[in-house]
Amino acid sequence: MQSFDMLMQGFAVALTPTNLLFIFIGVLLGQIIGALPGIGPSAGMALLLPVTYGMPPATALMMLAGIMYGGMYGGTLTSVLINVPGEAASVMTAVDGHQLARQGRAGAALSIAAVGSFIAGVGAVIAVMFAATALSAFALRFSSPEYFLLATLGITATASLGSGSAVKALLVAVFGLIIALVGTDPITGINRLTFGSVDLLEGIDFLPVAIGIFGIAEVLVSLEQTTDLEPMKTRLRDLWPRLKDWTECRMAILRGSVIGFIVGVMPGAGPTIAALVAYVAEKRFSRHPERFGKGALDGLAACESANNSAVTGALVPMLALGIPGSASTAVLLAALILLGVRPGPMLMTEQPQLVWGLIASMYIGNVILLVMNLPLAPLFASMLRIPYAFLAPGILVLSLVGAYATTLSLFTVVVTLAFGFIGYLMIKADLPRAPLVLALVLAPLMESSLRQSMMMSEGTLNIFFERPIALVLLVGVVLSLVWPMIRAARSAIRPKPAARDEHAVDPV
């Protein structure tokens, strides 16, 4: 009841004309920034931080938070329409979202994503209201061993539960881990595999790799067609989701929201891991797992719900304990300090109007985003009616400019181009591309957590067995590695049908 009263006071703060205007500006900017490859929500928030000087703290926070969750809506657009993830958390969206667009269902994909994001966002805000303190306590039980195993599970589950060869998927993940080794050692700071190059000192960022592997590679494959490149057929009735689609996706949205929030609460986990875990879990529960990777609306709904939920979940440790849960909340924390507000465990009691005003603004922001996106989804999808031959060069230019914008370095553009070509060859060799990018994103967390765990346990592996949460995650990792072999053995034992069983997974 007390939370409800505080929320009402928060609405009183958020619903002033000035604050409403800045919430709208924040979510609109966030959506646009999220759609642009190369500029993620945290970079957009950092770029716009100077604009907030002189603003009342509550107004500034509301605008910056709007950019944060608005970015999640925006990342969906380019992932679905042109297979270029706008930011890391949209990588899994691109996997199924673009396939749906190719099937003429871009509008349905965008609509489901918008509604799923809205439900997840609002659900997460409600959870923040009531569970901030309790969930922070649970999240703080996660330490290095749990983070290492969670990141490992993310990679092994994606590789082994995907369609096609599990060995190829794991090999691609290892390739991603090798790329992540380039640069400086996260613990000792010495150079590794830089071969004397100054450009490689900072390592290879995942975003140029993702832009190349997904965006450029797909365009090159499309250009192979010698017949006129037809625009993607989008029938009017396919622009909206059907009732059957909503029925299929409702549980995916619910599961994605819950998983996303829990993962988002864990400091350092973030919406990328949340989207991945939700996708893998949804494939497990789906009635049509064979559709995953080929245009599964429920897979898309799960990722989108999870990434939105996680962005809000990341606020829990920030508001309750002063610990940022993600890059975006780190920028929010910096904004608080610049605005003269002291973050920390006492923030909720010392500045209730600020905190509850922010929470109330997130309800309003999510409603604005839904109102903006739902009617516009068919319009965005209609862009695909433009003959692809005219979109292709523009996508290539946009991809390279987006890559340049991440570091303002031509070296990054060269990396993007190189991975564009590598991505093209990976498609030809039937190698899945998502595990590479995911491994690249998760590698720093994996390595630092593993080495810190070994330090904590003085060189033994006991720490992974002695901690209950770590043990559960370890069992998950082992099962995800063993599962493809079990499935292959079962397929071999069962009498072979005349046609090839499309559900069989060849582990080798």
Binding site: K168, L171, I178, T226, L396, L400, Y404, K428, L431, G459
Partner: protein
Amino acid sequence: MRRLDIATAVIMLALSAIVIAGLSGYAFWLDYAPGPAFAPYLIAGSGILLSLLLLVAALRGGREPADWPDAFGGRRVLYTVIGLILFVAALPFLGFAFSGIVFMLVVLLVVLRRRMVPSLATTAITVALVQGIFVHWLSVKLPTGPWGF
């Protein structure tokens, strides 16, 4: 596909070997803590194991053909890749706007053989949008040529 799988396995074996060789002077273990070579060696070891598994499967497995493009489609891809390389090479000298315009027009008119007017319109819209959003709104300094843009 068999040859591609073998090539993939060989490339990954080579990469794993490079990782091991490149970190040969680094410590695997430092007193009670893993050293900078700890994770790389584990990763390289996994790469070797998985590459060998793939190699064995490729040598034993089926012979379904790879999905390569025909000659005409292959040329479109090749010319586009060459165009991209030249675009990136020209960026620091000719700037984004000019290089982008030339690249897009070459791809649209020569590679994809589109008509002149829609190609010009597409190029103008794309370059203008990128300039407007990245340069003027987000203040991202894109490379400029001798003409200042």
